[in-house]
């Protein structure tokens, strides 16, 4: 249904919306810009104002009329309202302070405060499109963020057609504007025509509001024509004629084929890596999660903050920083936004709003940068092209994936110096597949991803090395302590696919832990896995993980200093161990794992599972390549910074993949083009 609405009618409409219990959020002038903020009613709108935009420049100007929506876009879209920049996820009740180390959790409470539902007023077509993109991120599965979902579902949306697109808009390129299409998600759509509005109803909620206004005039055909055909179409035509376009055609492939384009270096000389573009972009979603437990506060809060791929911490893990250079950070932003997004969420991450151009303090123009690469693509180098994967299929978790349970430490087994295995008893039934991981945490220090290194009855095993704050605190836990646990997450070793094949497992250091569950399965089932070989390398004999258990799998090996009882002797398992260096008395191999690989005849037809430090993985793969092992016979487990484990914080991205939900276990061919490439 459509109707005509005078300025006064519009004022009454907003009053009604307010009376219906919504908090009004609309455009309003603040600090020299039109921003979305709380408004009391129509008077707070920027009536008679417009904005002028250019790269790195935004100014307000008076229009000389009474247009209510006569401007284009402010610095931030409704993303701010739907995923607040700082948001508490859960509150954790804390136990007493202990002599050393952090306090342990005693209870977890959801932090969502259900305030008034929001009425989002004045959203443009591109902003609706951006919301659709964010819907895919936060609710598209396999996980759903209940906070976003709830706000989004309750929000009333009053959208507005763009008849006067701004200087930086390129929504026709991205097919996201300038008109709000009939099928878009709005309750009411306004088209501003001189001194009145045409209003189109898009939902029952919208209809009820219009009904509440009493008798409204119906638009004439001429008016409808003026709005939709002349207005929107003319705006679209004008946009088509502009120079600033973003050609989306084959863009993901183009970008991933040009990862070494000289333009990235040239960009790095101009880009400040300030992150502004990512925080004004209406589709960006990266965030960090922080633990807040000041002094003797009785509860700790797990808080998420907007983050950006332009920050240092985003791509840092213990001992490595994957994107130290600005060129790599900018490339991450662009290849994600315009490339990887398509395979991750089925849509480009760009909706053509031009915000990142306007609000870049040095005026870098993403469309110009794309055009430059498109104009002179470099021939893809000899590295393998990056494959763009299909969307992930890991199993979903019911409920809030950020809400941890409280698990209890049943026992602590010291494995090596600074390495322990925590046997943890989760609440309720817990099933996982070997290769998956949990997020383990303590309220004072935060959460970290830890692989499940085995399951014994109702107990989950986690083998942890103390490297930084969180891992150190976990390692220091004692039987009976509690910790927070979320999971299981991620992909698993392809045990079903391995059936009937000869399997070679290659592990380095603590990399054996994520493989142990799979090994135990294969050891226990000779009928399914006729031949299993483990090639395991450690720094020194003292650093051999699970030494007793390894010896029990293959009684033929002997190495000092351990003497182990042989429990299992099926004969289908063969173990080879090497150490980087050893004191006299060591009777086993010395040298890196690849050296061991060269000593042992390895089959080109076997299936391979690899886990260890990334550098080791790369050398192993090179070795396998020389043997002639095909990429689809090899699986490996990867590591990147993680905060959410459910594909929402954006930090674990590895090219087009989320390590947390597409991985951590990948088949080699999925990531072959990325391995060893700087900046990913």
């Amino acid at each position: 249904m459509s109707a005509r609405l005078t300025h006064d009618g519009f004022r009454r409409l907003l009053e009604q919306v307010r009376e219906a219990g919504y908090a009004l959020v609309g455009p309003t002038i603040s600090d020299g810009a039109i921003v979305y903020g709380p408004i009391a009613g129509a008077d707070d709108l920027p009536i008679g104002w417009t904005d002028e935009q250019a790269p790195g420049r935004y100014r307000l100007r008076e229009r000389g009329d009474r247009a209510h929506f006569g401007y284009v876009l402010g610095p931030q879209g409704p993303r701010r309202q739907l995923t607040p920049p700082v948001e508490t996820l859960v509150r954790i009740r804390l136990g007493p302070r202990r002599e050393q180390g952090p306090r342990t959790p005693e209870g977890v409470e959801a932090a969502d405060e259900d305030g008034e539902p929001l009425a989002l007023i004045g959203l443009r077509a591109c902003e609706l499109a951006a919301m659709a993109v964010q819907d895919a991120v936060w609710t598209g599965g396999p996980f759903v963020d209940p906070r976003y979902a709830r706000r989004r579902e309750r929000a009333l949306i009053i959208a507005v057609d763009c008849l006067e697109p701004g200087e930086l808009c390129f929504c026709v390129s991205t097919n996201t504007g300038p008109g709000v299409e009939a099928g878009a998600s709005f309750d009411l759509r306004l088209t501003e025509l001189g001194e009145e509005f045409l209003v189109e109803v898009g939902s029952e909620r919208g209809q009820a509001l219009i009904d509440g206004l009493g008798e409204l005039a119906e638009p004439s055909t001429a008016q409808l024509f003026a709005a939709r055909t002349q207005g929107v179409l003319a705006a679209a035509m004008e946009l088509h004629g502009r120079e600033r376009q973003l050609d989306l055609d084959g863009l993901p492939e183009l970008l991933f084929a040009n990862l070494d384009h000289p333009r990235w270096d040239e960009l790095a000389a101009r880009c400040l890596s300030c992150g502004s573009c990512t925080l004004v972009c209406p589709t960006c979603f990266c965030h960090r999660v922080e633990e807040r437990a000041p002094l003797d506060a009785p509860t700790s809060e797990r808080v998420r903050h907007w983050d950006s791929c332009f920050t240092d911490e985003h791509s840092r893990i213990h001992g490595a920083q994957f994107r130290p250079q600005i060129r790599e950070r900018y490339r991450q932003w662009m290849t994600h936004k315009l490339g990887a997004w398509v395979s991750q969420f089925g849509t480009s991450g760009c909706v053509g709003c031009g915000r990142c151009i306007a609000w870049c303090p040095v005026g870098i123009d993403i469309t110009e940068e794309v055009a430059a690469i498109r104009a002179a693509p470099v021939a893809p180098d000899d590295a393998e092209p990056v494959a763009l994967p299909p969307a992930t299929t890991v199993p979903a978790l019911a409920g809030d994936p950020m809400h941890p349970q409280l698990a209890r430490v049943v026992s602590v087994r010291e494995e090596l110096r600074e390495v322990v295995t925590l046997a943890v008893e989760p609440v309720g039934v817990f099933s996982h597949a070997p290769g998956q991981f949990n997020m383990l945490g303590l309220p004072d220090v935060g959460e970290v991803p830890i692989s499940i290194s085995g399951q014994a009855g109702g107990e989950l095993l986690h083998t942890i090395r103390a490297v930084g704050a969180a891992s150190r605190a976990l390692v220091a836990l004692e039987a009976g302590d509690r910790l927070t646990l979320r999971g299981p997450f991620g992909s698993a070793w392809p045990l079903a696919e391995l059936r009937g094949h000869n399997v070679v497992v290659i592990a380095g250091g603590l990399g054996l832990a994520p493989l142990r569950g799979a090994l135990r399965e294969m050891v226990a089932h000779p009928e399914r896995y006729p031949s299993v070989r483990l090639l395991y390398g450690a720094r020194s004999p003292e650093e051999l993980l699970f030494a007793d258990e390894i010896l029990s799998w293959d009684r033929s090996i002997r190495f000092a200093p351990t003497t182990a009882p042989a429990v299992l002797e099926s004969g289908h398992v063969k173990v080879h161990v090497t150490v980087d260096g050893a004191a006299p008395g060591w009777t086993g191999h010395v040298g890196v794992v690849t050296k061991l690989m060269r000593r042992k005849p390895l089959s080109a037809h076997a299936r391979y599972l690899v886990c260890g430090p990334e550098i080791m993985i790369r050398f192993v793969l090179r070795e396998l390549e020389t043997i002639g092992v095909a990429q689809d016979q090899v699986w490996l487990s990867m590591e990147r910074n993680m905060k959410c484990a459910v594909g929402m914080c954006g930090r674990c991205q590895y090219g087009p993949h989320f390590i947390c939900k597409d991985g951590p276990v990948f088949r080699w061919d999925a990531i072959a083009g990325l391995l060893g490439r700087e900046g990913f």
Partner: protein
Amino acid sequence: MAARPRLGVFKLASCDGCQLTLLDLEDELLAIAAAVDIVHFPEASSDMDPHGRFDLTLVEGSVSTPAQLDELRAIRAQSRTLVAIGACATAGGVQALRNFADHREYVRAVYATPAYIETLAQVTPIAAHVRVDFELRGCPIDKGQLLELISATLVGRRPDIADESVCMACKRAGQVCVTVAHGQPCLGPVTHAGCGALCPRFSRGCFGCYGPRERANTEALADHMQAEGVSAASLVRRFRLFTGWSEAFRAESERHDD
């Protein structure tokens, strides 16, 4: 209860503002005093023990006299975790501006009888002389970050203080960019966050009091400012302020100073 960790607060050349921040934690001060044993904090207590061992030592100020250098070395030797607090301790502070000039001339400018003054040739941050376990930035430091530092130290973790641009905080705060919307020069893009984008929130450009962030692309920012009409002399002054002796800002100011 186990012995509380021992806290010491020391001062070198400074304005006292950073240590005052500890007293400005009005809601938490008594809880802090319960959680740690404040064994040396002359600004607040005449019960002083500068010679004991400290689990956490906060050092404010930069090194500008020979005596301070000796004192700093002694403090380091007594401290388990030594944290430099504030722009003076982490970047030299305002007094390091004298490093850019002939400092003997400075002595004459302020004091009538130069012979009485004993100073080092250069004012330097603490890390120029001793190992520093953590640097808390800002002129002055932020009290929330100070509380985080103390809380984190109590449980043995690193403070959760992100090395990112002021722009990040500015955008989170929903502040309208003063550069883009008002044409004001702002050092936010190259400055370490922590203040919550205070200056933009107060309608002015950042002047860099938290010092350079990692990967500070000062050159790109300065070039852009220059293209927008900021003179070379003004660029020198902008980069040469409370954290002007930090490596990144110093290099940038020198690039425009001829």
